[in-house]
Symmetry: C2
Subunit: 201 residues, 2 copies
């Protein structure tokens, strides 16, 4: 049976679990791959983990896939407070770091202290994009909406008048985490231009 301090710890963990259920209600700009509706952050996070599993061979040699997946699972939790920031909106991007750090303080702070430290370190690592694990995780985070837009005749690109050069800059972040996925992203971008779903602007 569970003793009292352990049960307190479990109740603290469960309060965190209940709070992060809200991630399912944070909507992103892009749609599902069939265009049927906007995607939420929780299902987006699942998809990124699936990309990590399926495309693991595109990570640089020696990358710790367990840490990549842990980062991807938690990377968007700050959006429960800070909201989804559209990467092509310069206004929104400006104050994003402060808003997200405050959110990280509050949300990871709900966990028992040792886990607050552990989860925060993972999130900081993802944001800093300095380790091969973080670079690969970020590459997948940038690849996913490109896939969604490619499969929905331009999706949010057309809607928000995003130019090919903006998407090409985004592809550099993919390349930094995985050269082969960066090359694939470039291929998708050129194909989208050829089909008239993305314009040079």
């Amino acid at each position: 049976m569970t003793t009292a301090p352990l049960l307190d710890r479990l109740h603290t963990q469960m309060a965190f679990v209940q709070e992060i259920d809200k991630l399912k209600r944070v909507l992103r700009r892009n749609t599902l791959m069939d265009g049927s509706r906007r995607e939420n952050d929780a299902e987006h996070s699942w998809q990124l983990c699936m990309l990590a599993l399926v495309l693991a061979e595109h990570a640089p040699p020696g990358v710790d896939l367990e840490r990549v997946i842990a980062m991807l699972l938690i990377h968007d939790l700050v959006e429960i407070d800070a909201g989804d920031t559209f990467i092509y909106d310069p206004e929104a991007v400006l104050h994003q770091p402060e808003r997200e750090r405050a959110a990280a303080d509050r949300i990871f702070g709900l966990l028992p202290d040792d886990q607050t430290a552990k989860f925060r370190a993972l999130w900081d690592e993802f944001e800093a994009r300095a380790t091969p694990e973080a670079k690969f995780a970020k590459a997948l985070d940038r690849l996913a909406p490109l896939l969604a837009n490619h499969h929905t005749e331009g999706g949010t690109w057309a809607l928000y008048k995003i130019t090919a050069d903006q998407v090409r800059r985004n592809a550099k972040i993919i390349e930094a985490g995985s050269p082969s996925l960066g090359a694939y992203a470039t291929e998708l971008i050129e194909l989208s231009i050829k089909r008239g779903h993305l314009s040079e602007g």
Copy 2:
């Protein structure tokens, strides 16, 4: 740059990625923890992975968390073809294994052969519930709807007239993967009965 056979392989992997996006449209019986709408399988899978990260200390010693999480990421993919099976519906449960095996053949079969074998082995391991990893993964899968029902005044229990004894049998599966989480599940069940959200039937 990517050579032709590697690019073929990547295109095969991406066809799988596109197919499994459909998991976001498979609805489960239970709602989100705030009761606002029914949960889909993709966000459910994300939540189970978060439970695995947060509650890792409740797994038996020596459990490989990376394999637990990989199993949880893929465990519901078969429902793209087979649909969500309500565990308290005896009719539906009857033909579930055949339907799900056929789905596994088709869906994992979309991957390159080496990955078909790897993903299928993970899914078979989860289904067989023989390893500590599979038992712990299944415990989390059974804990999640109990949490959702507990937080929504009985949720699907009331709706589908589920009795306390049925939920107690379900808690045995939680206990088999994690004695401490099994004890916690029992605590939630008794609390739900006391509050009048679950009846002895």
